[in-house]
Symmetry: C2
Subunit: 228 residues, 2 copies
DNA sequence: CGCGGCTTTGATGTTCATCAAGTAAAGTGG
DNA sequence: CCACTTTACTTGATGAACATCAAAGCCGCG
């Protein structure tokens, strides 16, 4: 928890709060709460009452819920500037999805009351917020469509490229998720996710050391993601 | 086209415009445009410039785009009070998806400029709009998850129940879509959609006369939708 | 140090896509 | 209005893709 009013230095400021005047900024800044989470920590839980507007300052999280058989169903991964809590925040009283940290994560929480206040009194803020919301849902929907049109190999390749190109901006990285979680996200069985990874290793497209992945042949991986 | 200012009698008024004062109402009302579409007509096309805020007054539409192989991919069906044009309207300059009428459909168009104007000057309107947007994306995401966790029979049952319970509110109805379109929506092959329908017919759960469907055993159909 | 969860591979079975072929229905132009 | 073409619908047969089951090694954690 850190309540010092350092919001003017916050790199996320321009994303949402560029339109706030100094008085609005101070009000918001003085009552915002930052929270830190370790890998595996629960950030919000399906069913909990929604009281805050939550966004990611740093880290990585997964959004998920459970299907009827009690199996986890991962909806999306979110990184800073992605807008996690937004999905149901304005249409529900309680969260529909759970959010769990996959890496050390810092969130910034602002009460919904305060946000509602800003919407009521600052048109530019409303416009910005609406654009962000639109972006977020659009992105999730496009992800769903992207995955739906791929087969096993294509989906696994897509997933690896997601971490490599969008999260770590590196050809080598430590997978923040288990094989099982990848399976839950792309909608395939864990065993077949593993088989797909092994195949990519045998074809010398990636190297695998446990959770550590190195993409050796990026072009081929992209091709598999596009064609699969 | 019908530009008479009859918005106060419009049943959709309360959904979005309850917060407008009489002057705002008149401005909006005088410049809104209603359009009528026949079955099969294109309402908006992917790639077109977004200029209007479009909502359904009556009818039924499909949202779709094309995958790399040129095959249609149906994203969702929308009926009145569902908020079609909303998906990318505030995050893009052009439509990402096409919208086509499946039944005679009436839309009401308001320029984005006018809507932006309202957002800037009417906080309550902004709140209402944000809630609707949140609802819409939430619904689409939940649909995706619902379909993803079902098998062939479950998906077809789900689809039939959608038309029966959410669109026509009748046990008998005329399918507004082809078998192919059902397939494109639920992500299965056309042949297998037909086989699933035939199976339901053989099991005396539904009756089929071409496009006309009668649900005979609603309980069993619901069960298949839940378990499948 | 032992238990449970994660990972891996192989074997087997199910589900679904694809191909093929035919019928029915719905536009289309003379 | 009719022949013609195209599109939608239907069923069966085949094969591919994927899930499931089983068994074993590995790793982390209490």
């Amino acid at each position: 928890m850190d309540n010092t009013c350092n919001c003017n230095n916050c790199e996320i400021k321009d994303l949402f709060f560029a339109s706030l005047d100094s008085s609005q900024m101070e009000t918001m800044c003085s009552q915002k709460i930052e929270n830190e989470f370790k890998k595996g920590d629960i950030i919000t839980k399906a069913g909990d009452k929604i009281e805050d507007f939550v966004y990611l300052k740093s880290g990585l999280v997964k959004l998920f819920n459970y299907n009827d058989k009690g199996k986890e169903q991962i909806i999306t991964f979110a990184k800073p500037f992605d807008f996690v809590s937004l999905i149901s925040i304005f249409s529900n009283k309680t969260y529909e999805y759970s959010v769990v940290a996959l890496e050390p994560t810092v969130t910034c929480n602002i009460t919904l009351t305060e946000i509602t206040n800003l919407i009521m009194n600052n048109g530019t803020f409303s416009i910005n917020l609406i654009e962000k919301m639109s972006n977020t849902s659009n992105k999730i929907i496009n992800e769903f469509l992207d995955i739906k049109k791929r087969n096993l190999m294509g989906r696994v390749a897509y997933m690896l490229l997601f971490f490599s190109e969008q999260v770590y901006i590196e050809n080598e990285f430590e997978l923040p998720v288990s094989r099982k979680e990848i399976a839950e996200y792309i909608g395939m069985s864990t065993e077949n996710v593993i088989r797909a990874l092994s195949q990519l290793r045998k074809d010398k497209i990636i190297k695998i050391f446990g959770k550590f992945i190195e993409i050796v042949d990026n072009d081929k991986l992209s091709q598999i993601s596009r064609l699969g």
